[in-house]
Symmetry: D2
Subunit: 335 residues, 4 copies
Amino acid sequence: MSSVFGKNIICSIFGQSHSAGIGVVVDGLPAGEAIDLERVAAFMDRRRPGRNPGDTPRRESDAARVLSGLAEGKTCGAPLCAVIENSDTRSGDYEKLRDIPRPGHADYPLRVKHGGHNDIRGGGHASGRLTAPLCFAGAVCLQLLERRGVSIKAEIQQIGGVFDSEAFDAVILEARERGDSVGGVIACRAEGLPAGLGAPMFDGVENRLAAALFGIPAVRGVEFGAGFAAAGMRGSGHNDAYRLEGGTIYTGTNHHGGVLGGVTTGMPLVFRVAIKPTPSIARQQQSVDLKRMEPAALSIGGRHDACIVPRAIPVTEAVAAIVLLDFMQEKPYGF
Amino acid sequence: MSSVFGKNIICSIFGQSHSAGIGVVVDGLPAGEAIDLERVAAFMDRRRPGRNPGDTPRRESDAARVLSGLAEGKTCGAPLCAVIENSDTRSGDYEKLRDIPRPGHADYPLRVKHGGHNDIRGGGHASGRLTAPLCFAGAVCLQLLERRGVSIKAEIQQIGGVFDSEAFDAVILEARERGDSVGGVIACRAEGLPAGLGAPMFDGVENRLAAALFGIPAVRGVEFGAGFAAAGMRGSGHNDAYRLEGGTIYTGTNHHGGVLGGVTTGMPLVFRVAIKPTPSIARQQQSVDLKRMEPAALSIGGRHDACIVPRAIPVTEAVAAIVLLDFMQEKPYGF
Amino acid sequence: MSSVFGKNIICSIFGQSHSAGIGVVVDGLPAGEAIDLERVAAFMDRRRPGRNPGDTPRRESDAARVLSGLAEGKTCGAPLCAVIENSDTRSGDYEKLRDIPRPGHADYPLRVKHGGHNDIRGGGHASGRLTAPLCFAGAVCLQLLERRGVSIKAEIQQIGGVFDSEAFDAVILEARERGDSVGGVIACRAEGLPAGLGAPMFDGVENRLAAALFGIPAVRGVEFGAGFAAAGMRGSGHNDAYRLEGGTIYTGTNHHGGVLGGVTTGMPLVFRVAIKPTPSIARQQQSVDLKRMEPAALSIGGRHDACIVPRAIPVTEAVAAIVLLDFMQEKPYGF
Amino acid sequence: MSSVFGKNIICSIFGQSHSAGIGVVVDGLPAGEAIDLERVAAFMDRRRPGRNPGDTPRRESDAARVLSGLAEGKTCGAPLCAVIENSDTRSGDYEKLRDIPRPGHADYPLRVKHGGHNDIRGGGHASGRLTAPLCFAGAVCLQLLERRGVSIKAEIQQIGGVFDSEAFDAVILEARERGDSVGGVIACRAEGLPAGLGAPMFDGVENRLAAALFGIPAVRGVEFGAGFAAAGMRGSGHNDAYRLEGGTIYTGTNHHGGVLGGVTTGMPLVFRVAIKPTPSIARQQQSVDLKRMEPAALSIGGRHDACIVPRAIPVTEAVAAIVLLDFMQEKPYGF
């Protein structure tokens, strides 16, 4: 099920970087929900290249066309399908890479997996381009969540080891000038979730969110609440004491990040994802010619991002929205 | 599907900390595999309390009885079920906690989720006790992996912020003396995996491993390869150049941790999990009496671990074994 | 996922006919539901051999021991596991059958599937014995359904081509006397289901019920409403006209069997299952010795049912109960 | 997961009868398989209306456009997506039906399920139109099966109770003239399957095939081998004796229909589906106006099939192909 995920809300992503089209089918959305497609397009715009320094100069038209799932502007219970046509693709750029796998990309393992038949143009199905339909699906889910009092907001915590947000552009541009790239960390926060969503062990909020977040290309780590920093804390400092205010239970601190044992506590859900530096860099790299079985130097042309972290912000929100709406479709206790 | 996971190898975990028994059903194991139950028991012993300083003084008999799935000592294609009887349980210790949720535990969110009907004794189904059957399943899978040339080895990277392995015991004992607890980080490495396992996007090695690893109570973060540190690196430093030796492709460095785009590269699979400090501490904590709806101080008696990191080592290996064997049951290209 | 099924209510069945024990794990039951274990035992008794003419003389103690999932007699949100110990097993009866597959049984295809490592004793995991834990799970689900106003009742429609219920015993006994066996058809009816359960296409009531019902050994056909007879009807006669009475929509006839396009209409759900004659018969049969690769005559000793239809009645109800409760756990429109 | 099915080969169907487009995403196809799109189109043509007497006069252009999943004419490991644009839709025909559910259609239960927000035009997502993308997916799978030595062939067994194939057209035309419709039975046979595919209990060939076949609108029954007729047979007559010829095991008769206990035997897989008479008929019918809550007479205009059985033949083959290829993607014993 490489590109299908979800339980109540099931997303099926399709497309390759350079195929005729890419898109998503979202099955299981509750019916009767008005979808503002202009807001969806505005959300998707946040992912489009060309808005941040260091973005790829490739111009994507991310205009998503809805093929099904709506009737009179509202969800109708049928699967929602949206398609984005691919246009500005320069497949010629990639032909020479057929036998020389790019370091840091999935070229080599996919070649083994698919016996050399994988679509290498632009990264094929493993391309970051596939996060566009993911953003479509997430933008739709965000509207439903908003109607249920849930908001999701991601932001950059650091770029290339620098935590000062005013320096982010400079860090990215410096990397670009050197023919290099940088990664970063995105922090995401969901507010308004009810307590009691999820389950212990293998089907809880952390399990399903992590599984989906690792579906974003370049994500190398996922942590909740204090995350890896919790490893250095004492229990007395890490435990969040319960408090009471106006009949509401809450915790003053939020080291648990809104989820304990897989189940939401009603406090803000907080998680972070680590994003590696873009593997496509202008600098020459060392690889192997798999046909001739000999070392080969590789210079990646094409048009690439020096840092995908800014564009990964809406993608992170989108994935969180899809997973959290899925949990909210579970029947709660007592109904 | 709170306690069921897997695609080809499906584990279903059952039991509560203080129920009559706990156990696991493993469906989908290939037939004809001899299982050395003594080695399984030895593996489970590594998880048993009482072996490390700071372990709970609670004595568990983790003797697992196989109810089904074997015929003449070999897997027979039927689901493998093993049961561990619970004996040394002191349920009385927990009764007073019914209405006062313990900070850092799932008591409160589970109370909301289950309308107060969850089994609070010993943490119920959310207890670390449930990792015993997980170890059983993992120990079985490890024997099959070993036969296929795959080994898995986890070790402690840090305890409570200290990276010097000789100081681990002291850190734990100091926390215990202060009525406190510590967490840590476990690093795990799987060698011998073929290239080409997994898939891009949502059903790859990172997705499924992360989802399963977050099923281990107290895990708060999962990272692959360089993980969060990748965020601070440049692409030129993070990319692992391909090399050739004796007809074999490999990478000299392994920042990618053996998996690119969800698919294994044939290099050692490397991941780390962050484990929070045990939430059960002797020190008095602040909570709320949910019945009287008033603040309540809480002192947790019972018998608890000051640090579960040493006991989580085999659990991490077990989870990795189950997930990786599952991937190895996929039909590879060309068959 | 050979022995796991369900979406919100997930059953995992384990055991072989002659393994130490058999049982079931039921994950996803709503919490706070009192389970009357005596009624569960009484339900399971209906499946036990020895109650009907033609039953196997084998005596099964189907006493199911609950290992987990209950707290103070109520479901607690943790997986419910019940185990039945196997005792009266005569494995010696089967040894000679190792290389000579019994016609009508899964011996031969399972031998191929598992490379000869399947447990042949008593049919192993493919044995009708495995319907005992299924009945446990179903009996539990029936109590929850009853509390929600849903009742399920199955009955024999025909035995061996005879539709007169007073002649059933004679038909079975005659077959037994001739060293032969008979099959039959069971009709099942669920009342009280709300309209709107299920979904069109692949995840509706017919899809999931049929998939589960074919899990009952010996079931060879499943039909809903008029079923195969619908093929001989005209649309004008088959369509059920809607009527109105006291503000309630209903249909005067029920050829649709309570489900249209995968979704319940609120009318009684009606389906039938065809059960083949028990393949184990006393008469000599023709088979092949797979070791010597030569023809071999086969006389099946052991203790067998001349007709399993009567014992399959509670099994049919049980399967229906599990699947229907699963559907009732879906969040309905508007919540 | 209303419109998603499969384990290794996952199909996600989308679209409504009158939405902008309909289509399918097929995830999990092995890579490197050449797909002859002309043969796919020819297969889909068999489902198109207008080829049989009694077909709807509606003209569908079923031209499927492949958006992704192929590279240089071969599968590339990425999900295969095909879209069919909807054009000849007359939505006006349906507006008056909004509040008056058509007997025999899913209008009423879907109205309840979706709170009245389902797309009623042309049956929406529950329309037989959705079998067009299913045929696309099946036609692709058939090419892969053919390459693996497996063929699938369905044919009409009876129409409206008449088993003489030469009379089928007359039966259908007579029904049409009377403003009525007829159903029928389709028999399907798959040859060349290896023994050992599937599994006992809940994930075998019957389970998954039946679940998928009930996804074809109007299917009311599914049976394997002798099916419901087995209920009237004796074990001695129903059991298929094993024979040996040239080192090959086979059965002279095939009452078991190629599958025992969920697992293929290597004999031809034989099943039948019962198809109800088309619910859309010209004759006036009785229904209820759900807005005014009063009885209402209903005459269905629009363009409809007097019998969909002929068009359901390729659909049956398509569904069988998808499910059987899925099973063939399981890793067999010993690999």
